[in-house]
């Protein structure tokens, strides 16, 4: 064979690569600043005091909460997803989308509602006393104030993440696989445990990891229910001890937990053997459950929905209606919430789009974007807010001035870009490479391809991404609490302030508004997901 005269095509830092780098920098800066400041300046007496008296407690409480939350999320999400994906039973079509509704209510809102439902004067215990004639001192009743209670509330609020990923995985099982298992004599239970569950495991872990990161990052519910988690400790170090650098050092542990969760999730995904290999692809057709099993499943799904959404939200509506709606100024915080969430969504969407498009262009951008987005997402709002406060303190801007709002929008984007990047990237990857090549052969340049092919094709993903971003930002509490200018409340901040003051009635309206504002997008999202599933099953 003759020697080939070859040229090398050098890797250049293209404009796309550069843009990705800038986007990645914007996403990753706050968490990096927070961690580095914590590492280099977070020592001293307060740190020693916290290490010797509280660190172990914070960490233990956080791990206990994560443990119970895991159990409850698996219990809520996996069986419901399994039955909704593969079987028909009374109410299945409603549960299919309704089980996503709890996403609209943040954990702290559910904690206010459930605390009110289960306290001594609440409806449950009152009913119990009315029915039995006992007095409050005559019986024991489980208290929501503690790690198990917090786990219950967080599982209620966050199980839909695992439900959604599990449902997608179960629906993607090839009918051939299930039929093969059945022909080999496997019982439905064995098909579930030995065929479906192993295949869906990475997806379930992905949803679970997401929910657990949110749980670890939660400040609102934990502080309200008096559980001393790491998040509460960090906030206290910043707020009560006025030691942001110490708080940032504490944040290390929280980040470690988040990365640990991401690591476990990746490991679960990395182990092979979960790919479908049946080339003849058929989506499973639903089997109708017999009457008794069907009713049992309906009851189970109803119970989950009642606990996670209907009971707490109804209670809030009840309390709010009972006490009248005139609790202080609500319009201002409402508009503030919408403005911030909108601005944050736009910035995060642009960053997510940049990262995803960059990732499609070359590996360098892919790596940089992924690391940055992952770092921002793993970092709880509290940590990012600390980073922003450090950066603010280097500038001449006032921490309490309007510049803080710009920083807040930045923090929102830093925190949630990954949440937006995921559906966008999924939508892009569904479009085969031949689409882009076809467009090129028809004369469309890179920009035209983005506008005329990529974006329209990714539209469903883009819509889902924007909705997820908006709802997440609307619910965000700790970073907003730390960075908002004086007297510039959002609904989340207002609800939290009232609830901490034991003015639950006043907290209900902002809580309900957050839930209501989140509800529209969540319903849209859930209908879209359900429709996509149906059209796939039909096609």
């Amino acid at each position: 064979m003759q020697q080939l005269a070859l040229t090398r095509h050098p890797i250049r830092l293209t404009s796309i690569g550069l843009t990705t780098l800038v986007a990645a920098g914007l996403i990753a800066a706050p968490v990096l600043v927070a961690l580095l400041t914590g590492f280099f300046t977070g020592g001293g007496e307060t740190w020693s005091h916290i290490v010797s008296t509280q660190l172990l407690g914070y960490t233990w409480q956080t791990l206990v909460v994560l443990f119970f939350t895991t159990l409850l999320i698996l219990l809520f999400a996996v069986p419901t997803a399994w039955f909704v994906s593969l079987y028909d039973f009374p109410g299945r079509k409603v549960f299919e989308w309704a089980l996503i509704l709890p996403l609209a209510a943040p954990g702290y809102v559910l904690s206010y509602a459930w605390a009110d439902i289960t306290n001594v004067a609440g409806p449950v215990q009152s009913l119990l006393r009315d029915m039995t004639g006992l007095s409050a001192r005559d019986y024991w009743f489980p208290s929501l104030y503690g790690a198990p209670g917090l786990s219950f509330v967080m599982a209620c609020a966050l199980f839909p993440y695992a439900y959604l990923t599990a449902r997608a995985a179960f629906s993607n099982l090839s009918l051939c696989t299930i039929e093969a298992a059945r022909s080999l004599g496997a019982s439905p239970a064995r098909i579930f445990f030995q065929v479906a569950l192993p295949a869906a495991r990475p997806a379930i872990f992905a949803g679970l990891a997401l929910a657990l990161m949110e749980t670890a990052a939660d400040y609102g519910a934990a502080s309200y229910l008096g559980v001393q988690t790491l998040s509460v400790g960090i906030f206290r170090a910043w707020h009560s001890f006025s030691e942001p650098a110490v708080a940032a050092r504490l944040a290390f542990l929280l980040i470690l937990i988040a990365f640990g969760l991401q690591f476990i999730e990746r490991a679960a995904r990395g182990r092979g053997g979960t790919q479908q290999t049946a080339t003849r692809w058929r989506t499973p057709r639903r089997r109708t459950l017999d009457r008794r099993t069907g009713l049992l499943v309906t009851a189970g799904c109803t119970a989950v929905l009642l606990l996670a959404f209907i009971f707490p939200v109804s209670r809030l509506i009840w309390v709010s209606a009972e006490t009248g709606l005139g609790h202080g100024q609500i319009l201002r915080p409402f508009l503030n919430s919408l403005t911030l969430a909108f601005a944050g969504s736009v910035l995060a969407f642009v960053l997510a789009l940049t990262v995803v498009i960059g990732a499609r262009q070359n590996r360098f951008s892919q790596l940089i974007g992924r690391i940055a987005a992952g770092a921002g997402y793993a970092a709880p709002g509290i940590v990012l807010a600390l980073g922003a406060l450090f950066i603010l303190s280097w500038t001449s801007f006032s921490v309490a001035g309007p510049a803080a709002l710009v920083f807040l929008v930045w923090i929102y984007a830093s925190r949630f870009t990954a949440a937006g990047a995921e559906p966008l990237s999924a939508a892009f990857s569904r479009a085969p490479a031949s689409l882009g090549n076809a467009a090129r052969s028809l004369g469309a340049n890179r920009f035209q391809r983005l506008i005329r092919v990529d974006l329209p094709v990714a539209m469903s993903g883009a819509a889902a991404a924007s909705i997820i971003l908006f709802v997440e930002m609307l619910k965000e509490l700790p970073a907003t609490l730390m960075l908002r200018p004086f007297n510039w409340d959002t609904l989340a901040v207002q609800a939290h302030a009232y609830a901490i003051d034991e003015r639950l009635a006043a907290a209900t309206l902002p809580s309900l508004l957050i839930t209501a504002a989140g509800l529209g997008p969540v319903i849209l999202l859930s209908l879209q997901l359900t429709k996509a599933g149906e059209s796939r099953a039909a096609g």
Partner: protein, 338 residues
């Protein structure tokens, strides 16, 4: 008939991780002719197509349309500026556009009404006028491929490249779509490349065939020439089955019909069943396909030989049949070609 120019690859190479997946390939695609690029998967066919299309740069050599250089080591006209149409195995229709808008995609410089009119004409030409408003997921596989062909041709490309265009379709659809599609391609009078791993398809559909293996174009000629006068054993095998028989094993009556050589390659058609005056042979196996009977015959103790027969009666294994030679289906290969 037209002023269309030929599309040429001149000694092009493409290297991945130090391995040449296309190795100094030269191929001329003549206007109005369909050239099939035939080879097994991994032969480098699709990469050569991508080099023609400008989806990848060349590492050596040139791609030219007429006298204009499109790709060389120092120059690369991007795919979007080449006006070379592409047809994909997976159709690659834009899922957010209906059939008529898919066809109109490449006509964005035209006025909207003119664009729609032209797109409608192309749909009509491919028998899809009634499906103009349908979205890709509402179209059958055959309809989708016809839309993609209309889309490529409507943009008036200077050449068209088809990457296994019919392999995603089931057999009954294939022949119908193929005929309509290839007629339209030929009518356009432009150079056309048909990448395929199916010798039957290549011989039936193409005016010329280039056989590719390990990144190298082994031979390029008309289907008949390639079938009967291949210059290498891999090229010969790429076009269809054959049996190598040493002259010393041949019956004397056959030797007399053939030029002097050490070894002959026989296509199955070289041996035909006759009623008398043939060489008697025992049937080892026989299978009926839709049109012919495929036979394995015992030539001597060590060698079996493939033959085909036609007729209503299929000889059973163990039967003795009379076999005559059609020397035009026998050929010899250059000594160093294996």
């Amino acid at each position: 008939m037209s002023d269309h120019k030929s599309l040429r690859a001149i000694g092009v190479s493409r290297v991945y991780d130090g391995k040449a997946v296309v190795n100094q390939a030269s191929l001329t695609l003549e206007p109005g002719k369909i050239t099939a690029l035939l080879g097994q998967s991994g032969a480098g066919k699709s990469t050569l197509l991508r080099l023609f299309a400008g989806l990848e740069p060349v590492d050596a050599g040139e791609i030219r349309i007429g006298d204009t250089v499109l790709s060389s080591v120092s120059k690369h006209v991007p795919a979007e500026e080449r006006a070379i149409g592409l047809i994909f195995q997976d159709f690659a229709l834009f899922p957010h556009l209906n059939a008529i808008d898919n066809v109109g995609f490449g006509l964005s410089r035209m006025q909207k009404t003119a664009r729609r009119k032209l797109a409608a004409e192309w749909l009509d030409r491919l028998g899809l006028a009634h499906r103009a408003k349908a979205y890709p997921h509402q179209l059958s596989g055959g309809e989708q491929q016809r839309v993609s062909i209309a889309r490529a041709l409507a943009a008036q490309p200077v050449a068209i490249l088809m990457d296994e265009p019919f392999s995603g379709l089931d057999v009954t659809l294939k022949s119908e779509v193929r005929e309509i599609a290839l007629d339209a391609v030929k009518e356009a009078g432009i150079p056309a490349l048909l990448v395929s791993h199916d010798a039957f398809e290549a011989m039936r559909d193409a005016d010329r065939i280039a056989v590719m293996k390990d990144g190298i174009i082994l031979q390029e000629a008309t289907p008949e020439y390639l079938y009967l006068k291949p210059t290498s054993l891999p090229a010969a095998r790429a076009l269809g089955p054959l049996t190598s028989v040493a002259r010393k094993d041949m019956p004397d009556t056959w030797k007399a019909q053939l030029p002097e050589a050490e070894t002959y390659c026989l296509r199955p058609e070289a041996l035909r069943l006759v009623h008398e005056d043939g060489v008697a042979m025992t049937v080892v196996s026989s299978k009926r396909t839709s049109t012919v009977i495929e036979l394995e015959l015992q030539l001597n103790d060590a060698t079996t030989i493939s033959a085909i027969g036609i007729g209503a009666n299929r000889p059973a294994p163990g039967d003795t049949v009379q076999v005559a030679l059609s020397p035009e289906f026998a050929f010899t290969l250059p000594a160093d070609s294996a």
